[in-house]
Amino acid sequence: MVEPGTGLAATADAALGPPRSPAAILWRRFLEHRLALGSLLVLALLSAAALAAPLIEAAMGLDATLVDLFAAKLPPSLAHPLGTDELGRDLLLRLLYGGQVSLLVGLTAALGAAIIGTAVGLWAGYFGGAADALLMRLTDGVIALPLLPLLIVLAAVDLTKLGVPEAIATSRDVSLYRIVILIVLVGWTTVARLVRGAALSMKSREFVRAARALGAGHGRIILVHILPNVVSPIIVATTLSIGNIILLESVLSFLGLGIQPPIASWGNMLTNAQELIWDAPALAVYPGLLIFATVIAFNFLGDGLQDALDPRAVE
């Protein structure tokens, strides 16, 4: 009644078909998820285009950072396939460079959050005790509080007052590092909670107890027996978090507190969009469309991975 027709056919199929390795089963299940597959393709294309931005720039014979107020807000033409922005820079190149930044921030912050979250989650789930109680309180707090206003405060903090050397605090790329660190600071809790739960249920399983009986130390049990068993939820959660991070980065950059110009990001390209709505609506549409496409692609991808990796879905 709930899932009609899948049971019998699937069992028969599995019985008749050749034996498959777990990886092949995963891959086949992933292929069935058309949205995830399409998303992977879109993301690969987007990343390739973003990485090739300097090449495309050279091929077009343009300079993406060159401000030319006489060529501002031009309509699309051969020289500028998507036209130019309010400062006369080529919109296509800006979008590609912005894509580099958004993808870079999304991937590094997600990875950083996953590493810290995994370490904390394993520790709390395996050892329990006061560290665990503290972790749960902390994650409760991070989830329940109004995050955006707090991030705005954190993003506005003057780094020199924190003892960061003047040269670094005023360098061009500091906004990039700052936003990655901020997002890791608030983002690790999701993975930590997840890993904690998984580690908690793993540590009383027979194979863990057997390993302990054989004299394995805590470090070995955690790394060899528990970690491999919690990898799939980590992969799914990390993939899903990339989309959220890109969204958060774009919001903060849009509000003027994330990636700072002259570095382009899809979020900060929209900062002036509201004033441009009347005479150049295209400038307000493209960056947002790319954020939307990237975020939804990562979400579909994560969803597909979840379906493929979820042990409850084993045929």
Partner: protein, 316 residues
């Protein structure tokens, strides 16, 4: 029950106290202090004057000492003045809290009213075209940048069609229809941004409830699909949904901040954002605390709903 509420309120007060110290400390780390601002606006002030002023206003004292004196005034109801508005901060924040609650309440109600039937319908026929459509709407909702959604809505409904105002507040003393006109686009933005998440929770919770034995029993004893869904599935699916929604109240507030900023709605979110950018320390601090307090109270309320929905839970 009363004991539970009292305990939770005490906890909330403690969280609020910790938050007030953290935010106070963070604001002290923001660029510039009130004296810097005075120096910038008055070229006749010398460095010695600035130092004297700092001592006069206690800005040379250590941070915890300043915090304690702020706290001492705050518990007596003195939250200080806003630099940008030159008014006591509570006089500014109260009416704006009201505007934000209207925006969040309406958006949440609309998103929930749409997500509940849609999520249930999708869960009843998984892998159908209907389910796929609901799924895509849900993913689009959680993936769209809210500020961009606002821009799109403004382009379509305010610029091209000219049906609705692009932002701002209804003039004072305007009728209810005019007020509603100004609310349509912000509420639409926040509803769409909120809808996706709720839809996914409702669908997942309903799928889970449909798998339970009591649902099979209900079907077996001959109840119609309608009776099963309304009598058994809905109520049980609501339990996880309510929990998760309570936790999402903070996200709803974040969404309100973006929406208010985009449409120029005079609400808490926009006020907090502008006070931080404008070095209005008192307003930022109290605004953030008020937002935190609202979130904590909403969480408490949801926990109480949770007990009401699920008689197995008691907070003795």
């Amino acid at each position: 029950m009363l004991r539970y509420i009292a305990q939770r309120l005490t906890e909330s007060a403690l969280v609020l106290l910790i938050m007030s110290f953290v935010i106070y400390g963070l604001i002290g780390l923001m660029p510039g202090d009130p004296i810097d601002i005075m120096v910038n606006s008055d070229p006749n002030l010398t460095a010695a004057d600035a130092a004297r002023l700092r001592a006069l206003h206690g800005l040379d004292r250590p941070i915890w000492e300043r915090y304690l004196s702020w706290l001492g005034a705050a518990v007596q109801g003195d939250f200080g003045y806003s630099r940008l508005h030159a008014k006591p901060v509570l006089d500014i924040l109260w009416p704006r809290l009201g505007n934000t609650i209207v925006l969040m309440g309406l958006s949440f109600a609309i998103a929930f009213a749409l997500a509940l039937p849609a999520g249930l319908l999708a869960a009843l026929k998984p892998r159908s075209a209907r389910d796929a459509a609901v799924n895509i709407v849900a993913f689009a909702g959680i993936s769209v940048p809210p500020f961009w959604l606002a821009i799109l809505l403004i382009i379509v409904f305010a610029v091209f069609l000219g049906w609705l105002p692009a932002g701002g507040m209804a003039p004072a003393g305007a009728g209810i229809l005019t007020r509603a006109e100004y609310l349509v686009l912000p509420v639409a933005t926040l509803s769409i941004a909120t809808l996706g998440g709720i839809l996914r929770f409702v669908r997942a919770a309903a799928m889970e409830a449909l798998r339970q034995d009591y649902v099979r029993t209900a079907f077996a004893k001959g109840l119609s699909e309608r009776q099963v869904v309304l009598g058994h599935v809905l109520r049980n699916a609501m339990i996880p949904v309510v929990t998760i929604l309570a936790l999402n109240f903070g996200a709803l507030f974040s969404g309100a901040l973006i929406t208010e900023t985009m449409f120029g709605t005079l609400g808490m979110g926009k006020t907090i954002y502008e006070s931080i950018l404008g070095n209005d320390f008192n307003l930022a601090l109290v605004g953030l605390l008020l937002a935190t307090l609202t979130t904590l109270l909403a969480n408490l309320l949801a926990d109480l709903c949770y007990a009401w929905l699920d008689p197995r839970i008691s907070y003795g």
